[in-house]
């Protein structure tokens, strides 16, 4: 019995503190990420992981469905509990819980400040890695600097003046230190972003050395192009001397928007665009032309032109794409831009461009349809029977509105609609054509939820070799093209015109793009066909031409949303009703009547996102965006 006692007391006697020391020494800390190259690489990828998903039109990217370019019916919102961009399009943005909030990382937005913090951590620590060459350290740092710049730019485009996180704030920072961080004047933000991009460009490679592993990583052309985009944005009316924000200032009187219009900002933008274009050209980049494919030698030029336009977006890694985001690949967006073609069981895409987008495209003469001397604009909704010569665009014998006749190739390449040809999906010759049937009872309009509310689909986003069977649709994903050369040409043209007025150089870059689209040059087209033949000779007139060219060329690629804002024209364009065809009608007479779907409202405050109310409570010095 004593033995038991001693045993028990003995066990009890192991009362050393070691019993509670359960944590082994080798627990991972953030330092582990910078001991070896392979770990540092994961941290580099972490920095990339905050990249907004450009192709995710349902949550991440407000620019595709958050404006007036692509509409959708309300029933689909019942299927997607959080279909955030449509709320922005419908004017439901709010301060309590903003939609697509990249500041706080909620409702479709990613917390980009976290991304910026991690970029800073990377930059602080990459020097510690022992098994990396200086060249590689410099390259990776340059990539992270680009990301840091891009995340700032993304926030700036949404929120206007933002704080700049040059360095990380310590976790132990006091309340005063934290609250000292406020929005900085827009010019300072731009300067810092440009500074980072300049630093990055020095150490970035022209092309990724190992395409199989690295395609999609940031290169020098990307950084230089982004610089041009940032500077052009900063030079645009929204940011350049915008007097709407005269009272948007800190308590100490510091203005957040400079109140003086500064033309040199355009000059800088033009110079940056020129440099970027030059570098791209030196590296062999050029506008995309469809040069091979199924039945290439048998198809007509019309079809080839259509493919020039569609494939520039959907063909992976083509020569025009400066930056394609391999982390955001177009899959869902293809399904939702794709009408059912063969079986009534198939869903049709619900992403529906409204009639105003269909009207935006030029006539076959390359001028706006309301300017074209040969185009009967006022009768554009009148029906006309399709004759055989239109068979590569329209279904023979159908009664279709004048609006669908005699349009530029980009109209037919970008839009799918009732009676329109849908090239591809196994039908690659010009002889066996498939046409969309979208009137009530048609294959593309038979599903109770999946249909286009306007009668249009963004055909341009759908790769022509996708497969479509009775049971399902299988798209081939492509990396989302964030920047392509045509974008740079158009920006360059725009900046030149703004900085120096109409010049031959401006027209030459526009004409490159028009040529690829099967159109004549600006001078020729306007002189010959426009009611306003001298339009391109004035700065204002040319500005309108450049704007429209840009919207047509880059339609559905997520540019119009931001362009209308930076031009300060959203307040005009987005106060118009959204219209579509009367899709529940079976016969053409009734179907082709424009129907108002929504009365869109856009006011000055909508140019920028509101900051979440809670964030303002944490730091009252942070100003709310005007109007919110």
């Amino acid at each position: 019995m004593k033995k038991i006692l001693f045993f028990v007391l003995g066990v009890a006697g192991i009362s050393s503190c070691n019993y509670l020391d359960v944590v082994p020494d080798n627990v991972a800390t953030i330092d582990n990420a910078f001991t070896m190259r392979s770990a540092a690489e994961t941290y580099l990828f972490t920095c990339y992981s905050w990249m907004p998903s450009h192709a995710n039109m349902f949550t991440d990217n407000p620019a595709i469905m958050g404006g007036d370019e692509i509409w959708t019916h309300t029933l689909s919102t019942t299927l997607f509990s959080e279909f955030t961009p449509s709320h922005i399009a419908r004017g439901n943005q709010n301060v309590v819980n903003p939609y697509i909030d990249y500041w706080s990382g909620q409702r479709g937005g990613k917390p980009l400040w976290r991304g910026i913090r991690e970029c800073n951590i990377f930059l602080e620590n990459i020097g510690k890695v022992s098994d990396m060459t200086d060249y590689e350290k410099a390259r990776w740092s340059a990539e992270v600097k680009f990301l840091k710049a891009y995340y700032h730019f993304w926030l700036m485009r949404m929120y206007g003046p933002i704080p700049v996180m040059r360095e990380n704030l310590s976790i132990a920072a006091g309340v005063d230190e934290v609250r000292a961080i406020v929005r900085e004047p827009i010019d300072d933000v731009v300067n810092y972003i440009v500074e980072l991009l300049d630093e990055a460009a020095v150490d970035l490679p022209d092309e990724v050395p190992f395409e199989v592993q690295e395609k999609g990583r940031i290169t020098r052309p990307i950084a230089l192009s982004m610089k041009a985009i940032v500077l052009a944005t900063a030079a645009s009316p929204l940011f350049n001397g915008n007097t709407d924000y005269a009272s948007f200032k800190h308590a100490d009187g510091r203005n957040l928007f400079s109140q003086e219009y500064d033309v040199t900002k355009w000059e800088k933008a033009a110079a940056a665009a020129r440099e970027a274009i030059q570098v791209c050209h030196d590296l062999g980049m050029e506008l995309y032309y469809y040069t091979n494919g199924p039945f290439f030698n048998q198809i007509s030029d019309t079809t080839k032109t259509e493919m020039n336009i569609r494939n520039v977006v959907t063909e992976r890694w083509n020569k025009e794409q400066i930056w394609a985001n391999s982390n955001s690949r177009a899959t869902q967006i293809q399904r939702h831009s794709w009408p059912g073609l063969f079986s009534t069981l198939n869903e049709s895409g619900a992403m529906a461009p409204p009639i105003k987008i269909a009207e935006m495209f030029y006539s076959e003469h390359g001028v706006p349809i309301d300017e074209d001397l040969g185009y009967n604009y006022s009768d554009r909704f009148k029906l006309r029977t399709v004759t055989p010569e239109y068979r590569l665009y329209l279904k023979e014998g159908e009664s279709l509105p004048q609006l669908h006749f005699d349009r530029e190739p980009r109209f037919y390449a970008s839009l799918g609609f009732d009676g329109g040809r849908w090239y591809g999906e196994g039908r690659y010759s010009d002889d066996e054509n498939v046409y969309v049937a979208a009137r009530a009872g048609g294959v593309a309009n038979s599903h109770i939820y999946w249909f286009s509310i306007t009668g249009y689909w963004a055909k341009k986003l759908v790769y022509f070799q996708n497969i479509h069977t009775n049971q399902q649709k299988t798209p081939q994903p492509y990396p989302w093209p964030v920047i392509r050369l045509a974008d740079l040409y158009l920006l360059y043209a725009e900046a030149l015109n703004e900085a120096y007025g109409p010049t031959e150089e401006v027209l030459s870059y526009l004409d490159l793009i028009r040529k690829r689209a099967g159109l004549k040059g600006v001078r020729e087209s306007w002189s010959e066909y426009s009611r306003n033949p001298d339009k391109f000779t004035t700065q204002n007139g040319l500005r309108d031409i450049i704007h429209q060219e840009r919207q047509i060329e880059l339609a559905f690629e997520g540019h119009r949303f931001w362009d209308l804002r930076r031009w300060k024209t959203a307040v005009n364009a987005m106060n118009e009703p959204i219209t579509g065809w009367d899709i529940n009608q079976e016969d053409s007479e009734n179907y082709y009547k424009p129907r108002i779907l929504f009365n869109q409202k856009f006011s000055t405050r909508d140019y920028f996102w509101p900051i979440r109310e809670n964030e303002l409570l944490v730091n009252r010095n942070l100003l709310q965006t005007p109007g919110w």
Partner: protein, 1160 residues
């Protein structure tokens, strides 16, 4: 007899020195006794003694006698100082003779007890009387029988003649026979646990007595931390309950807690078998940290509330809850939220006693949520679209509505009542329980087994050969064995296994209820019948819609089943050593236990084939079926492995106890406990969670009482936890208290018949809580970095093939994080009136410090990937708990008892880091209850769109319209934002929980009723989960796997705002087919009063009379019918109010039960 023995040894020198000095002395005594005594246990007890010696000291005589007889002498060294030496020469005499010889003329007396001889100083005032010394003058004999209030005989009652030593005890049948002098006038009847009675002896010499149970029994023992205390000595706030009061016709013990234990706040939110544990808190919730629920200890082992739920009241020996600091300080770091202590029964000496209880019950929902009929559903769905958007598309053409009304074809125009497709009206459950106990002097045993079967109310499709209904079988087996290894050493082994075997629908019962509430009634039928076209189809043709995975709850229910198996295996070894041979009252106890919990689930299901009806031919009433998922459906079962959990716990506890009364008046006790505990989880999820959970602690309790009038107690816990940085690892938690037993004072004597008990208690102390963060947040002093986070991965390469994971930080390190501490004060009063009404009331207050919370000053632009936390929060709680019981007997056949409990617990934020609320003081949480909700003040519904335009801007994501809820602009800034939220309603945790009931018996019948209620609770109708027509997902659901569409509650259909009837006070605002964040915002509109009172249980029983039992060779037999949740009084009618915001889940059940209890 044993007690008597202790009482006789209470002579000691008066000790007016400090406790410390006393402790020194105890040590000295231990040493001395150890020196003088040798091993005794193995010696054979000899009957006769031969002893010879001259001038032997008493000590040496004792030593000699011990070696000859094996009898063990207990004495205090100093008592022998004044003895004179003895010269002795006796041969072959009895021990007593020898002792009598030796003790003659000594200042000592002795008593032989079993194998012990107790030696003590002689009491001069009370001359020892022995019956055989009384001259027998005239004798008479008295006989009689002693029974309890229920008429059952009581064996072992002491029947004695006052002032003499004449006494006998009653036999098994309660009968006694006593011879006594004719002069005796009174007979005294006494028994522990009963009131002592003195009854005049009548002429016929027959005295039958009904013993009445003592209300405040001084001998009653209460289980407290690491031991027991006499009830009268308890200073802390401890509530114990008679386990039989916890008997409810349910397989879940936790559902019986509400209202039965003063100090417990409890409520039940679901009635699903296996998921129906009640939530319970001791004295409310006073922390906003991680762990808010009490520590549950079953036989000293920390277990979960599910393990508590499975316990059988039949097996419970005691059930106590510890509420204040002195009661819980010993648990140091783990006692802050109160402690529930349960001990299970042990065997008692005697022949094997078997008792069996069998029950069968019928269970049905107390209340079902009513949904609108399918026609109304379609009309209102159309209206919901059009009322928001005149251009919108109507989901149902008028022709469909007309055809559905006409009942044209129930498959092409379906109108499905999903609830009746899926659910039965009631179900049957069975419970069986047996136990055997008994034993001899050496070993005692208690074995118990339980089998419970709980069925759900789901239907089963006859075309499947598996059961998809909920069928929860739980088996329990318990074996408690105690063995006396030596005369002073007892060893106990407890083995316990609890096994749950479950089969049920893959989504669970609540999941099925929720799905039914999210299914459109008119899109498709549950399934299509086999027709001529489909006669070769071998599977069930479930209804569906192409392209959208709408819920077909019937398909989800019958497509397969899930099995889970949960087991708890537990083994415990305990040693108790009585060290009274060292010094009286010293005991040692050591206990080690280990348990293993395991859980796994497996699902087996086929993938249903869905069909859609098309091409309806009006003429011949036929339709064409189109298969929707030919490629993905299967006719065969597939299986998927679910969660698997395994964990092990090891626990060691050793305690040294000292408990003694000196000089009749000074009661002293001391205890030191040392504990070690480890928990290990097999599939923890990450490295840090995989590390063992450990606690280490030394605790102590020291009590002193004077003359049963004044009591003092000091406790401490010194505890370590692995969670904290080494500088913060240990915490010291002291507590102390005093009590005054006023009714034991001399001056109280005149009042003692009115108020036989009056006691005041007060305690104060600190208790800790180390579970301040979840398991994923255990090591706050370490950062938690995931070096392999696929969520932070990126992909590159021309074919998107090169991917690397990323790095993420789940926690930043903070070495300063430490214990949460609770400072608790308790003042209590216990009183008893006329031995009939007992009242116990406690007022308590508590102050929590170091509550872990997220720093509020971190803006998003800092870019932290994890929130920064610190021990900065403070909160307080206060309240009252009160219990009353009342007993009354009318003759010996009729009795009534009544009891009531009342708990009132408030909580309050004291320090809470918040954003800068300068102007919006109402947003601050300080001063409000921890479960206070903030929301908007809903004024009414907007009259029209015009009013919306002219009201403060109110935008939660969708522009409101007329008929949407209008909120008050509290801060007057012209817009409704989060700053306009004010504290609304009562807390969501009820502040008042009460219960009352009575039991009554007449002859062999008994009836009891128990009412339970709670109040000061608000809850919110979930305006999103109940919003008709929208797709609502619960938190843990994968929103890509199916598409829900909410049903329309009948109450909403009957009372909503519409353009025809713009009632601005309608129950439901303007309809909407899409989620409306305006109306879903938390506001007073959907706030409801959670108060209710319900007839929780009622029971009617019949006990067979003793004579009949004898024929059946049984000891007792009782038959009873009982019920739970029989009646409810509440203002809320949509569903069972106790479910509060969880109203669309599995309903709480009303149970009718018949039972039989037999023992033999």
């Amino acid at each position: 007899m044993y007690k008597k023995c202790i009482a006789r040894t209470q002579t000691f020198k008066p000790l007016h020195r400090s406790i410390l000095a006393w402790l020194m002395m105890v040590k000295l005594s231990i040493l001395l006794v150890l020196l003088t005594c040798s091993q005794t246990s193995a010696t054979v007890f000899a009957q006769s003694v031969t002893i010879k010696g001259k001038d032997m000291s008493m000590k040496s005589i004792f030593s000699e006698l011990r070696s000859q007889t094996g009898y063990h002498f207990l004495y205090l060294e100093e008592d022998l100082r004044n003895t004179r030496p003895v010269t002795i020469d006796l041969k072959e005499r009895s021990l007593e003779t020898v002792l009598d010889y030796c003790f003659r003329g000594q200042p000592l007396q002795y008593e032989i007890r079993k194998n012990r001889v107790l030696v003590e100083r002689k009491k001069l005032s009370a001359p020892k009387l022995r019956s055989d010394l009384i001259p027998v003058t005239q004798q008479r004999e008295v006989i009689g029988r002693v029974t309890n209030e229920q008429g059952e005989p009581i064996p072992g009652v002491t029947v004695s003649v006052p002032e003499t030593s004449i006494g006998v005890t009653t036999n098994e049948n309660g009968d006694y026979r006593i011879s006594l002098p004719a002069t005796a006038k009174l007979l005294s009847f006494s028994m522990v646990g009963y009131e002592k009675q003195e009854i005049p002896i009548p002429d016929n010499n027959v005295v039958n007595v009904v013993m009445q149970a003592q209300v405040a029994d001084i001998g009653e023992v209460v289980v407290v931390a690491f031991g027991t205390q006499k009830k009268q000595d308890v200073i802390g706030a401890v509530t114990s309950i008679n386990p039989s009061e916890l008997k409810v016709p349910s397989s879940n013990l936790t559902t019986a807690l509400a209202g039965r234990l003063a100090g417990v706040i409890a409520y039940q939110r679901s009635g699903e078998p296996g998921q129906d544990n009640a939530d319970f808190f001791i004295r409310g919730v006073t922390t906003f940290g991680y762990k808010v629920d009490p520590l549950i200890l079953i036989d000293g082992m920390e277990l979960t509330s599910t393990d508590l739920a499975r316990l059988q009241p039949d097996d419970i020996a005691s059930f106590s809850i510890m509420k204040d600091a002195t009661a819980t300080a010993l648990y140091g770091a783990r006692g802050a939220n109160g402690v529930i202590l349960v001990t299970t029964k042990e065997g008692k000496e005697g022949k094997a006693k078997v008792s069996v209880r069998l029950e069968n019950s019928i269970s049905a929902p107390t209340r079902n949520v009513e949904v609108a009929d399918p026609i109304t559903y379609m009309r209102l769905h159309n209206e919901a679209v059009l009322t928001r958007d005149a251009l919108g598309l109507q989901p149902y053409p008028q022709s469909k509505i007309d055809n559905t009304i006409a009942g044209t074809n129930p498959y092409f125009f379906p109108a499905t009542d999903w609830r009746s497709e899926l659910f039965k009206n009631y179900t049957m459950n069975q419970r069986g329980n047996f136990n055997v106990s008994g034993g001899g002097q050496v070993a005692r045993y208690y074995f118990a087994g339980t089998f419970n079967q709980d069925n759900g109310v789901l239907k089963v499709d006859p075309r499947n050969n598996f059961n998809n209904n909920i069928d929860l079988k739980s088996y329990l087996l318990r074996s408690n064995v105690n063995v006396n290894v030596t005369k002073t050493t007892e060893v106990g082994v407890r083995l316990y296994g609890s096994f749950d075997e479950y089969t049920g629908p893959i989504d669970g019962g609540a999941g099925m209820y929720r799905k039914v509430m999210r299914t459109n009634p008119v899109l498709f039928p549950a399934y299509y019948p086999v027709t001529e076209d489909s006669k070769f189809v071998r599977h069930i043709m479930f209804g569906g819609i192409s392209g959208i995975d709408y819920i077909n709850p019937y398909a989800d229910m019958v497509k397969g089943y899930k099995e889970y198996s949960r087991a708890l295996m537990l083994a415990q070894f305990e040693v108790k050593q009585d060290f009274s041979f060292i010094t009286e009252g010293l005991t040692f106890r050591a206990m080690g236990n280990t348990n293993r919990t395991s859980y796994f689930d497996v699902s087996r299901a086929y993938r249903p084939f869905f069909y859609q009806a098309g091409g309806y031919n009006r003429l011949d009433d036929t339709y064409r079926l189109q298969i929707l998922n030919e490629l993905t459906g299967t006719e065969y079962l597939d299986y998927s492995e679910g969660q698997k959990t395994i964990s092990s716990v090891f626990y060691l506890e050793s305690a040294l106890n000292y408990n003694r009364i000196f000089r009749d008046k000074h009661g002293l006790s001391g205890m030191l406990v040392y504990i070690m505990r480890q928990t290990l989880n097999a599939n923890a999820g990450d490295l840090q969670q995989s590390l063992p959970f450990r606690n280490l602690g030394l605790s102590g309790r020291f009590t002193y009482s004077y003359d049963n009038r004044y009591f003092g107690e000091f406790n401490f816990g010194y505890n370590g936890s692995e969670r904290f940085h080494s500088s913060q690892r240990f915490g010291f938690f002291p507590a102390g208290g005093v009590a005054w037993h006023i009714s034991n004072e001399k001056f109280w004597e005149p009042l003692s018949s009115v108020m036989p008990l009056l006691k005041l208690r007060a305690t104060y102390g600190l208790v800790g809580n180390d579970a301040i963060g979840g398991p994923e947040d255990r090591f706050f002093y370490l950062s938690n970095v995931n070096m392999n986070d696929s969520g932070r991965a990126a992909v590159f390469g021309s074919d998107f093939t090169y991917t690397r994971p990323g790095v993420s930080i789940a926690r930043y390190d903070n070495p300063d994080i430490t214990w949460e501490t609770a400072e608790k004060v308790n003042i209590g009063i216990e009183l008893n009136l006329f031995n009939k009404l007992g009242i116990q009331a406690d007022i308590f207050s508590e102050y929590r410090r170091n509550i872990l919370m997220t720093r509020a000053s971190i803006p998003d632009y800092m870019g932290l990937s994890a929130s920064v936390r610190a021990n900065v929060g403070e909160a307080s709680g206060k309240g009252i708990d009160l219990s009353m019981d009342y007993k009354q007997f009318f003759g010996d056949q009729f009795w009534v008892t009544a009891r009531g409990n009342f708990t009132y617990a408030l909580s309050e934020y004291k320090v809470y880091e918040e954003p800068q609320y300068a102007r919006e003081w109402w947003k601050s949480r300080i001063g409000y209850s921890l479960s206070q909700q903030w929301g908007y003040i809903a004024e009414r519904l907007f009259i029209d769109d015009n009013e919306v335009e002219n009201s403060p801007r109110q935008n939660f994501g969708i522009q409101p319209r007329g008929g949407d809820i209008k909120f008050r602009d509290v801060n007057g800034d012209g817009q409704i934002t989060a700053l306009d939220q004010v504290p609304i309603g009562n807390p969501t945790t009820p502040e008042i929980v009460y219960g009352f009931g009575f039991s009554t018996g007449y002859r062999n019948f008994d009836l009891s009723c128990f009412f339970q209620g709670l109040t000061n609770e608000s809850f919110w109708i979930d305006a999103q989960a109940t919003a008709p027509f929208i797709a609502y997902f619960y938190d843990n659901e994968n929103s890509s796997s199916f598409v829900p569409q909410n049903a329309l509650l009948k109450a909403y259909a009957d009372n909503y705002w519409s353009e025809r009837n713009p009632n601005v006070m309608a129950l439901w605002p303007r309809l909407s087919a899409v989620p409306n964040p305006n109306n879903a915002a938390r506001s007073t509109w959907f706030m409801r009063d959670g108060s209710f009172l319900r007839l929780k249980t009622a029971e009617f029983g019949y006990t067979l009379t003793a004579d009949k039992l004898k024929r059946l060779k049984m000891e007792s037999l009782r038959m009873y019918v009982s019920g739970t949740n029989l009646l409810t009084w509440s203002r809320f009618k949509l569903w069972d109010v106790e479910m509060a915001g969880n109203g669309l889940g599995y309903p709480i059940q009303r149970v009718f039960n018949v039972g039989l209890q037999v023992s033999f």
